[in-house]
Symmetry: C2
Subunit: 348 residues, 2 copies
């Protein structure tokens, strides 16, 4: 399977808003940017939380691609602080560019990866839709019906909250670097020549990225609920600052600066990006696939949250920022002297 | 927008089963072939009913295409005998083959058609996913949370039940014929030469097909629930007999012949199909898009069902068959002397 720049396959946010301007009042997704939330007709303490996401393959191994496709959809539900997903519907496009045998092997592996991950998440695939398409597609729908206290509306961030991130940034860089290596293109050759990366580095960073993208945010979601996080989102297509901006807009309080002062990234991804790519990683706009949860916690809960994630589940997390007071309006920012730190792994 | 043979864009059912054989126990979709049904975690009298469907454009007008895409998704929920849909998520692929202006105009029209139809259905689009793709795609997800008595598990067909269909067959034929006319291809020329159709006929049959595909099955769904239909499905990609076979398999009783003895089709679609296509319309396997509901009713309720649909909502319906006894096993059949009748319209 080939891979594509994540940025090239998603309709840009501003274009999309333009396409959507004829419908509704523009409020779709403002209050709960990660999922759609609808009250049950007969009892408004029960809510239907839903999401859909799909994309083109990013990694060579179809099993791992299925895994990433599934973890990525589930992550939107986990960002709502609920660890239980009632069911999934699978979205699949089978490539017309393959012969029948290759198509069968790759599609079955992709489905197996998706299904294993759904099982690991404790949910089940109960339906779906599949088409033939020039390009393969993998993804799906995740639905869950939950009580009021089983999920989080991410609008209660407060001055003093600490921001924790559960996966490092840089997946887009790792995926593209690997693709460029396989094509041995000019930019990759330049990076080798400048001694920014070695061939082994490419494999290493790609391996960590695949681990990261395939990791479920389920355990983190349970803790987001347990510690009554005031706001939470997952970091995906709009980059960490893009998603933080969505959260800034969603807050019910006014006068908040959601400020990032530390950026955990895949090893050397900042240097690679700076020299041969243009994804604005350190500016906060590099797209991620199946990124981590970015959770707002009371300062007193941060240690417990991080310890529990580490000791109980073997998962790393990073304190990356805080909520500060500002005069008026809410704003998402990255500190000028933001500290970039390297993450070698997503597991402890 | 171009159009494609419906059959060429859907993964064939046998291939799909092959791809899926590594996962689950093969029971997905057997009991409720149109939707996924999952019980609410805290109260199993409440059910989450979900479906997803999307496809490539079939008609030239993007507004009408959006309308058909929406009616088609909703139809799966309506086939469960529930007229209330809590929310929809839109699935959209924007064609890479257009320039920016054309892409914007067409995409906005498609979204507008989809949204107007969702509003007409009394539901709302609360989210979605959009990508750039070589081919445009339109469709979506429909979700609804319902009590036990608000939907139908289609497994209670009984000997003596009468089968009613709410839209005529032949949409695939009409859509392809129109496409062939626009290309002025050899098959279309042959049909003209053989005097099977005139140029005006093509427009007329296509117009009725578009009305039919864009019509919501919502009113029929309400009556399916009201008259406690023992089984119901909507006629789409597998053709009327394919869907009847799925129902035969879903029944809890044994020894049922689900028998069709009348086929309402778009005017002349049987002759067109017979002479220049090979879609097996009269054999029951021609794919439909956004087809009608096929509902099993007690004989005593048939007149009331049809009258109410006609008088209250101005919608036609046809008695097409019955349930007969057979020795063992369930079977879906079409009578050898099946009567083909022409439908000029879907509205009275």
């Amino acid at each position: 399977m080939g891979s594509l720049d994540s940025l090239s396959c998603k309709v840009p946010q501003d274009q999309l808003f333009n396409y959507l301007k004829d419908i509704g009042d523009g409020s779709i997704g403002k209050e709960t940017p990660d999922c759609s939330v609808t009250k049950y007709y007969h009892d408004d303490s029960i809510n239907l939380v839903s999401t859909i996401d799909f994309f083109y393959p990013l990694v060579e191994d179809p099993y791992l691609q299925g895994r990433i496709g599934c973890a990525n959809v589930l992550s939107d539900i986990y960002a709502m602080g609920t660890a239980r997903v009632d069911h999934m519907l699978m979205v699949l496009a089978v490539s017309l560019d393959m012969d029948a045998k290759e198509r069968e092997v790759i599609t079955r592996e992709m489905i197996r990866g998706f299904n294993d991950t759904a099982e690991e998440a404790g949910t089940a695939i109960t339906g779906g839709q599949s088409i033939l398409n020039p390009w393969p597609i993998i993804g799906g729908v995740a639905n869950t019906v939950v009580k009021k206290d089983e999920f989080l509306v991410p609008n209660r961030a407060q001055v003093g909250d600490v921001i924790v991130l559960t996966k490092p940034l840089g997946t887009q860089i790792a995926v593209n670097l690997k693709e460029w290596k396989s094509k041995n293109n000019d930019k990759y050759k330049k990076a080798l020549k400048l001694r920014i990366v070695t061939s082994d580095d490419v494999e290493e960073i790609n391996k960590v990225a695949i681990h990261s993208m395939g990791k479920l945010n389920k355990n983190a979601a349970g803790l987001v609920n347990k510690y009554k996080s005031g706001a939470c989102t997952d970091v995906t297509g709009f980059g960490i600052l893009g998603h933080l901006e969505n959260l800034a807009e969603a807050q019910s309080s006014d006068g908040l600066e959601l400020r990032i002062n530390k950026l955990p990234v895949l090893k050397n991804s900042d240097k690679i990006e700076e020299s041969i790519m243009n994804f604005n990683l350190v500016k906060g706009y590099s797209a991620e696939t199946s990124g981590g949860l970015m959770a707002f916690l009371k300062e007193k809960d941060v240690k417990d949250f991080q310890n529990e994630l580490e000791v109980k589940y073997g998962e790393k997390s990073w304190v990356i920022g805080e909520v500060r007071e500002r005069k008026e309006g809410n704003k998402a920012t990255i500190a000028k002297d933001v500290e970039v730190i390297y993450a070698d792994s997503v597991f402890c």
